[in-house]
Amino acid sequence: MNLLLRPISILGASVLNGIEFLGGIGYLLRDTAAATHVALFGKRGRRLGWRNLWAQMVRVGVRSIPIVSLVVFCIGAILALQMAPILKQYGALPQVADIISIAMFRELGPLVSAIVLTGFAGASIAAEIGTMVVSEEIQALEASAIHPVRFLIVPRVLATTLMMICLAVVGDLLGVMGGATTSRLFLGVSFLQYATHTFQSVKIQDFVTGLIKAGVFGAIISTLACFLGIRVSGGAEGVGNATTRTVVLTIVYLIIVDLVFTSVFYYLGW
């Protein structure tokens, strides 16, 4: 009997956990949206704290520019080398610029930047908030009538969303530059040729759809990190678990959401 019931019980528990998890994120998003509205448009005393927002933007965005640039530049360079043999067969080597630019602007710029930011900022946000839970700082905020969602989560979500869009622009450009550099050095495609092909092939919607995705990716990274951070229990071990879960879950969610967006854009013809 137990052997029969156990799989059903495990399945039921997993479904319930999943519902609880998504419900929790839903509540957090609702509270964050309400707190953002109050923070931006409410009276003084419930304000956002521009200093706080600026500090988060520097921490999340500015400090991750070098690492994002390096990774995306390398991916652009790798992509050029991978595509070169096939394009060479068709005598279309300069088309490498078309492929790289569209891939970068629509997909790889935002996605790779988001994955790097997950490791860079998502993990750090989850660890920071988790540590604050463990050291009673969240309780202290509540006891001082300072709402943790408004004070901690809103600035992090806003900063990560805004900076993710900026990082996607950086990623787009550096990816294209990576491709251009490799093409110039190893494939014999001049910078002028590369630039001409890039400008001919990239349309404004390639750029805009990439940025829309980047904004959503930023919101996902920060919301998941804050959610898993604020649910920490069990001391230092709990903080470690939350950090690991944040990185793993965020990357999975990023890819799923990316698939959904790409499908929607495909059907809309964007």
Partner: protein, 267 residues
């Protein structure tokens, strides 16, 4: 007649179906220092968290300045929280901010005071706890006693009517512990602040208390002045306040059916 600042009205709190607090009734009188005593797991910290509105009771209510916390609107609960200060067991300083910024935060968040005024107020609060020289230090640079004093300065930032202390002497050496006790007494006398102190450190409790209550396994056992507690004939009270190894508290723990448990395992 003495005015009641906070009234705990038949509060019950359950965790996983187990009553951590069981129909607790308690009055905190305006201007007094009330010490809530109890061993580990007695429910005293939960009671403190209920009184500051961080935990919601399953039944009963906490009446603060004439209004029930459970029926308060969020804005009313915020106003209540602004009128009380809490010193957490670890100090709970915001680790990313300096000591001065920790104290300034409630003022920056809840008042329209200009930054220069806030700086002066922060110095005044830090001087009260003898930490003015350490205003620019980060929490990680402070000793345990200094962290608690900084936490106390932050709790005092908005000139609270009631101060809650969660284990103020825990983890401190005897001299630092006595210093914190002297601070609690001074704040009570100088500022007229009502104090609610949760502790199991008997020496400290007898030093600061005007009145004491003892909780055991979520139940209210006794209330009285320090002298009345010393004179109590209740064996449980006697064992607890004298820190004895033998008595009803330890007998209960030992009567855990150990032999029966062992035999059951063998058969």
């Amino acid at each position: 007649m003495a005015e009641t600042a906070i009234q705990v009205d038949s509060v019950t709190k359950l965790y996983d179906g187990r009553a951590v607090l069981d129909a607790i009734k308690l009055d905190v009188i305006h201007g007094e220092t009330l010490v809530i005593l109890g061993g580990s797991g007695s429910g005293k910290s939960t009671l403190l968290r209920l009184m500051i509105g961080n935990v919601i009771p399953d039944s009963g209510d906490v009446i603060a300045f004439g209004k029930g916390l459970c029926s308060m609107l969020p804005a009313e609960l915020d106003d209540y929280r602004k009128s009380v200060g809490v010193l957490f067991q670890s100090g709970a300083l915001y680790n990313s901010m300096s000591v001065a910024d920790n104290v300034a935060l409630p003022l920056r968040e809840h008042t329209d005071l200009p930054e220069e005024t806030i700086e002066i107020m922060v110095k005044i609060k830090l001087e009260l706890v003898d930490l003015r020289q350490h205003a620019d230090k980060m929490p990680a640079e402070l000793s345990g006693g200094m962290k608690k004093r900084a936490g106390l300065a932050r709790a005092l930032a908005l000139d609270p009517k009631v101060l809650f202390y969660d284990e103020p002497s825990a983890g401190l050496d005897p001299v630092t512990s006595a210093e914190i006790d002297a601070l609690i007494i001074n704040l009570n006398k100088q500022l007229g602040v009502t104090s609610v102190v949760v502790t199991h450190e008997m020496e400290s409790a007898f030093r600061i208390a005007d009145r004491m209550v003892l909780l055991d396994r979520g139940k209210f056992i006794i209330s009285g002045t320090p002298q009345q507690m010393r004179d109590s004939k209740d064996p449980l009270v006697h064992q607890f306040i004298n820190g004895l190894a033998e008595g009803p508290l330890t007998d209960r723990r030992r009567a855990g059916g150990y032999e029966k448990d062992l035999l059951t395992e063998r058969t």
